[in-house]
């Protein structure tokens, strides 16, 4: 029989973008008390800045407000805006967090699981040439939303400028290139290294754009010069090596009204602080990193803490929505019964042998070892937090005095097996 411990079924969600909102709605429907924390004054996150998203029929703003009204209707969900997480203590099933609400005192909440849905930030690559006509995708979406676009005759999208574009930007390029071509009938050029079409119907969008007359230039070793040209921008390409019919591509000059460059994607501001507060890992680029990308797609290195949405995957909106649901589902599964099952194969400290050298505490990737404060000062030992232990065996192998054993894999048993 496996052991169970009592767990709080409340859930804390950090980030009030579309990922956080979708997770909250699902969990509210399942009967969990949800606290949704958003740093800004307004919910909706980055979708507030977008006019339309490929794959969705309705305007993005309408979609966001629909979701927010669903959120507000649920009596299970508490929304705290202008609020940040400052401290989290405890382990899966029984977390204790302090929230700082602007112009108000700290609020403490108890919860059993955390969903991190902090999304992304974007930054526009710097160009040597400065001009009003060089804009990024966010600005472009603004212009489209306000319908204040003056007559345009030629626009150029510049992709993969200093590094490969992310999926989100690549998709936005295809969508907006087609949109500008169809609505404004202007000439649209897309200069790109790799056209990204890995996704349902993306190839179709690319084909449709070409059929409508968007010109794609796949530059290989483009030596590019961007300079202001009266009120316009001149983009000069040499040796683009693209086989565009009727155009001598070896030296090509495009004089355009707009040069649209893709933003690069950065971890959301505050990701580092949050990773320290919660003890979760980040990848080389600073984004949140799943424990095992494939097996548990939403779980962090700590049990009970999940990632949802763009803070850990680079994907389009549909995938972000799916991902938030799977994160919410995983959290629901974990604490729905108000108890948590403890794995049989967890590590165990032999209190007699432990010298409290802290090796295990420092080496545990899952923050599942702590000092046993319940003992007297001179007799303190390390303690495995069973509910947080993954049974990975790292502390077992590193313990210098062999004071830690993994249940079911004790040294004696293994020795017997290998003779």
């Amino acid at each position: 029989m496996s052991k169970r411990i009592r767990a709080n079924s409340n859930i804390l969600i950090i980030g009030g973008g579309i990922a956080g909102i979708s997770s909250a709605i699902y969990l509210g429907e399942q009967g969990h008390k949800v606290t949704l924390v958003e740093r800004e004054e307004k919910l909706g996150g980055r979708l507030n800045n977008l006019f339309s998203v490929y794959g969705m029929d309705i305007c993005t703003k309408d979609f966001v407000s629909q979701q927010i009204s669903k959120l507000n209707k649920s009596s299970n969900i508490t929304v705290l805006t202008s609020t940040e997480l400052v401290e989290t203590k405890g382990y899966v099933g029984n977390f204790n967090s302090k929230l700082k609400i602007k112009n108000s005192k700290l609020r403490e909440i108890k919860h059993g699981a955390v969903i991190i849905a902090t999304g992304i930030d974007v930054s526009t690559p710097k160009m040597r040439c400065n001009s009003q006509g060089i804009i990024n995708h966010t600005r472009l979406e603004d212009y489209i939303a306000d319908s204040k676009i003056r007559r345009l005759s030629k626009v150029v999208f510049l992709c993969d400028f200093d590094k490969e574009d992310s999926q989100i930007i690549a998709l936005s390029t295809l969508k907006n290139a087609l949109l500008l071509r169809e609505k404004l009938r202007c000439e649209v050029f897309v200069i790109s290294r790799n056209i990204k079409v890995a996704g349902r119907k993306f190839e179709k969008l690319y084909t449709a754009a070409r059929e409508k007359g968007v010109v794609f230039i796949k530059s290989i070793d483009s030596l590019m010069k961007v300079s202001p040209c009266n009120d316009l921008i001149s983009v000069e390409l040499s040796s683009t090596g693209s086989a565009v019919e009727g155009i001598d591509v070896r030296s090509l000059q495009l004089i355009c009204d707009w040069l649209i460059i893709g933003e690069s994607i950065l971890p959301s501001q505050g990701t580092e602080e949050l990773s320290e507060i919660l003890g979760v890992e980040r990848d080389k680029q600073g984004f949140f990193q799943n424990n095992n990308v494939h097996f548990m797609p939403n779980l962090s290195n700590r049990k009970g803490i999940f990632f949802a949405g763009a803070c850990h995957i680079d994907a389009g909106l549909n995938d972000i929505l799916d991902d938030s649901l799977t994160a919410a589902y995983a959290a629901h599964n974990l604490v729905a019964k108000s108890t948590i099952e403890i794995d049989e194969k967890t590590a165990e400290v032999d209190e007699e042998k432990c010298a409290l050298c802290l090796t295990c505490i420092r080496s545990c990737p899952h923050k599942a070892v702590d000092i046993d404060f319940s003992r007297e000062a001179s007799k303190k030992t390390a303690k495995i937090i069973e509910e947080a232990c993954f049974g990975c065996g790292i502390c077992t192998s590193l313990c210098p005095s062999r004071a830690i054993q993994l249940r079911e894999y004790e040294d004696e048993k293994i020795l017997k097996l290998i003779g």
Binding site: M56, I195, A198, G199, F202, E203, S239, A243, I313, D322
Partner: protein, 349 residues
């Protein structure tokens, strides 16, 4: 908490590949009885044939190792009934239920289920139908799948008698090809090709690898890092051009590839000891029959069509799509999709 009484519910999962198994496990964990139908004699589907693609003992996160765990779990799951060498021969819908005839060795039995999850997977593109690359004719031409199966079995690359010095990959074989009406990207080929290229580089330090491509589909952060790693390797060359043909040169035991150097706008020939075709994902040949049985829509390429905005629901209530039968997906994407199916099925019941 919402009270669930799922004990009396039954769900049929069609196809025991990675998607079918994942969906079945997730649904069965909720106490629902799952009937898992597999037409072959073993569960696991295509993933069984894929090898671990670690490079220098570092995991490249291909996901091929995830299957075994799931198979072990599902075989002993009390709520899952597995039907091997079986197929469905007829389905009738009454109110909210489906009555399904399961055929096994000419015998049929009938089960009543509340929902059906279609997880019939894909079919690898038949490289022989791109005759100009010489697959099946030239002994030095292989598919990516051949290489994976070989490595899975042998644990090393012994495809040829001699140590290969030059190898090439041709991307998009069977994908993004309007001539074949395959106007879609298979999503997985860039990823497995680059992983295999790195593995070849590790196995044969002297080897030079060329990769012929249209566009590298560098989606996902993990993959971008792998792509950068390949670009930094001076012995891996990316050539933006799809060759027109491959021809055997028996004297040198090599294969000559003709392609257009787009930058210079001229035709170039190069010889390779090993040519790998990165074949894509095709809809399963079963799809048409299942479309007829269930009445679910397929898209223009033959994949099943989900309702807009609901990536697992179909036009028939109670029928869901899981994994690559809905469109090309990697192993991890299939798992994610299959988990989403489980959530949607639960909501529906």
């Amino acid at each position: 908490m919402v009270a669930f009484d799922m004990k009396h519910k039954n769900v049929l999962v069609l196809g025991a590949g990675i998607a079918g198994i994942t969906s079945a496990l997730d649904i069965a964990d909720k106490g629902i009885t799952v009937h898992l139908i597999e037409k072959t004699s073993s569960i696991g589907g295509h993933v069984q044939r894929f090898c671990c693609k670690a490079v220098d003992d570092v995991c490249t996160k291909c996901g091929a190792c995830l299957l075994k765990d799931k198979i072990d779990k599902i075989k002993i799951h009390p709520n899952v009934k597995i039907y091997l060498d079986s197929d469905i021969s007829d389905i009738s819908k009454s109110k909210a239920n489906f009555s399904v005839q399961i055929k096994h060795n000419n015998k049929t039995r009938s089960v009543e289920v509340d929902a059906i999850v279609v997880a019939t997977g894909f079919m690898p593109f038949d490289a022989k139908s791109k005759g100009r690359f010489g697959y099946g004719r030239i002994p030095y031409v292989f598919t990516g799948l051949n290489i994976e199966e070989h490595f899975k079995e042998k644990g090393e690359f012994r495809l040829l008698d001699d140590i290969p010095k030059r190898a090439a990959f041709i991307q998009c074989v069977g994908s993004r090809d309007p001539h074949l009406n395959n106007g879609y990207c298979s999503r997985v080929c860039c990823r497995y090709a680059l992983r295999l290229a790195m593995m070849l580089r590790e196995a044969f330090p002297e080897i030079k690898v060329d990769i012929f491509y249209m566009d590298i589909q560098s989606s996902g952060k993990e993959f971008n890092m792998l792509y950068d790693q390949c670009k930094d390797d001076s012995k891996i060359e990316f050539i933006k051009s799809i060759p027109t043909r491959a021809q055997e040169i028996p004297e040198t035991k090599s294969v000559r590839v003709l392609y257009e150097d787009i930058a210079e706008a001229k035709l170039v020939e190069r010889d390779y000891d090993l040519l790998v075709l990165s074949i894509g994902i095709m809809p399963s040949e079963e799809n048409q029959r299942i479309e007829g049985l269930l009445g679910i829509n397929t898209d223009e390429f033959g994949f099943f069509e989900p309702l807009l905005d609901f990536s697992t629901r179909t036009n028939v209530q109670g029928v869901f799509l899981s994994g690559t039968c809905e469109g090309p997906k990697s192993i991890s994407e299939s798992i994610r999709h299959a988990e989403k199916v489980a959530i949607d099925v639960m909501e529906y019941l």
